[in-house]
């Protein structure tokens, strides 16, 4: 334990923690809009393309972060424009872009004479490679993403919910669609050092999937996803640091596994809640066909009798062994 506390105070670890905090908040914020647009895999596609960006940085001996930002933004805008054409095969066109991105990245890395090991630290995250200047850039970009996602929330919500409606209402739909794509691209590169390019999409999407198991409104989904993202990224980072005494654990996989664990815990809760909701859904307000009195009924239905009480018109029916019992004077009617 003291070893863990020791490692947490190393300067590189503090830098990694700062990066993890801002990434954990920003990634699910963008991710919520992507999931709402049913583009859960967009982050993954941008991540694949960013691999080429990193490789170009390695080849030209410039900052891989900045070349990754440039390529990721270009890829995101390209994906958005192809998608905007809105034909059924858009997903296939996107797949072509994804594989081109990762194949190009691995190939250019080889041409640059760099080892797969170098690329790996970008693919799955690496604690040790975060330089102080990286932290400044990461925090600045992540804050930009957060301000845009929260400040422009109503516009982004309207555009993601129903683009045609938003267009008729005079909202600049293409601008906001491209904005979401660019924010996603920026988030991908921000998360590159902590989670890694191949896993960043998980941090964008998994907390949202977890949150929506138990939420009803968009606002709470967004907030809960950000909270879960924070817990997963900081928790995963600390877990990776702790496990590093025993084995070589990259932070990216640890963060994603923790996020998935949260989902596995929340899923049964959501399933139970949905089941309960279905059970309590009001019956159609139709009059019963006739006056059917139930057989001798020793049980008295009430608020806490254990039988679901379902609204039916102006009264409630109690669900009892596959029957619907409605109180009627001294007896129960079959409804």
């Amino acid at each position: 334990m003291t070893e863990l506390l020791g490692i947490l105070t190393y300067p590189f670890m503090i830098r990694a923690l700062i990066a993890a905090v801002v990434t954990g908040l920003a990634a699910p914020a963008v991710g919520t809009y992507l999931v709402q647009k049913r583009l859960s895999l967009m982050g993954d596609g941008i991540g694949h393309c960013a691999v080429t960006g990193v490789a170009i940085g390695l080849l030209t001996h410039t900052s891989p972060t900045w070349s990754a930002v440039v390529v990721a933004v270009l890829a995101a805008v390209a994906i958005e424009l192809i998608r905007e054409r809105g034909n059924t095969n858009g997903d296939l066109a996107l797949a072509l872009l994804f594989y081109g991105g990762i194949a190009g990245g691995v190939m250019i890395t080889g041409i640059a004479g760099q080892s797969a090991q170098t690329l790996q630290s970008y693919l799955f995250g690496s604690l040790l490679t975060i330089a102080p200047s990286d932290v400044v850039v990461t925090v600045a970009l992540a804050l930009t993403v957060l301000v845009a996602c929260l400040g422009l929330g109503p516009q982004l919500f309207a555009v993601s919910q129903d683009a045609e409606f938003a267009r008729v209402a005079g909202i600049r739909v293409r601008f906001y669609n491209v904005l979401i794509a660019v924010l996603a691209a920026v988030t991908v590169t921000v998360a590159m050092r902590t989670v890694g390019l191949l896993l960043v999409s998980a941090l964008m999407v998994v907390p949202v999937a977890t949150a929506q198991q138990v939420t009803r409104t968009f606002r709470t989904t967004l907030a809960a996803a950000m909270g879960l993202g924070l817990v997963a990224s900081v928790g995963g980072l600390v877990a990776a640091a702790w496990l590093s005494f025993a084995a070589d654990v990259a932070p990216g996989p640890a963060i994603v596994m923790l996020a998935l664990a949260c989902f596995v815990v929340s899923w049964p809760l959501g399933a139970w809640r949905r089941h309960r909701q279905r059970l309590r859904e009001p019956f159609a307000a139709l009059e019963p066909l006739g006056h059917d009195v139930t057989d001798a009924h020793p049980h008295t239905h009430g608020d806490d009798c254990g039988h679901p009480a379902v609204p039916h018109g102006d009264h409630v029916d109690y669900i009892h062994d596959g029957h619907r019992h409605a109180p009627h004077g001294e007896h129960y009617d079959e409804h």
């Binding site: 059924t88 095969n89 072509l96 045609e164 409606f165 209402a169 005079g170 009803r216 409104t217």
Partner: protein, 269 residues
Amino acid sequence: MSTVIEARGLSVSIGGRPVLRGIDVAISDGEFVALMGANGSGKSTLVRALTGLRPLITGEVRLFGVPLGRFRDRQRLGFVPQRPSAAGGVPASVWEVVSSGRLTRRPFLRPLRSIDRAAIRNALEIVGLEDRAGDGVATLSGGQQQRVLIARALAGEPELLFLDEPTAGVDLANQVALAEALRQLKDKGATIVLVAHELGPLAPLVDRAIVLRDGRVAYDGPPLGDHAVPETLGGEPHTHHHGHELLQARRQHAPQVTSPLDSRPEEGR
């Protein structure tokens, strides 16, 4: 009475095929117009052209006297698109969906003012869903979700409302609720353009019917009665409409990577 919508010589093509040809329509302030016709006759396309969602090949559209390209008073328009559901990929409450219809009126980057809240509440009351405001949209029935989409358009307090098949796949009770909402709006003097296959409970509200057949106006005049389109005008007496024509559209199985060079196919799906 002033003219709210004026279309002259309007033609629209989709993927190079002419869908609407030489449409001339003028709709006056306060009219309730039903756009009718068989599947593929171009009713929805006409609404999409009038709202600016679909570019014109030739002709001109003026809304409130202003050419569509320069029309900026978007808060005067309301649009209820044809949707099987009001839900997106993330849970959203009825209140949240309806309040997105208020964006045209509320100031940029500012929270909802009390006047905005009142308008949203009022829209929910008109469609009879005020007690469901906090519920998730996805938990509502199909007909109730359709009413949410209408409330969303009403929240912007439009003077001109377009509805694309709001009654498709909606049960009678919900159609009655919907008709009541539209009656209230009509009483306030709004102009309403409704695309419909069957009018049902909406029939008493309609002032005028425009029937399209194969992309041209086949009839323009007083309403024709409920099951409305005579066979001579392309009506199909025994078919029932199931809402989502687009689902049956032919699929192409080649990856359309070159599509950015073509004109747009069906947008926004």
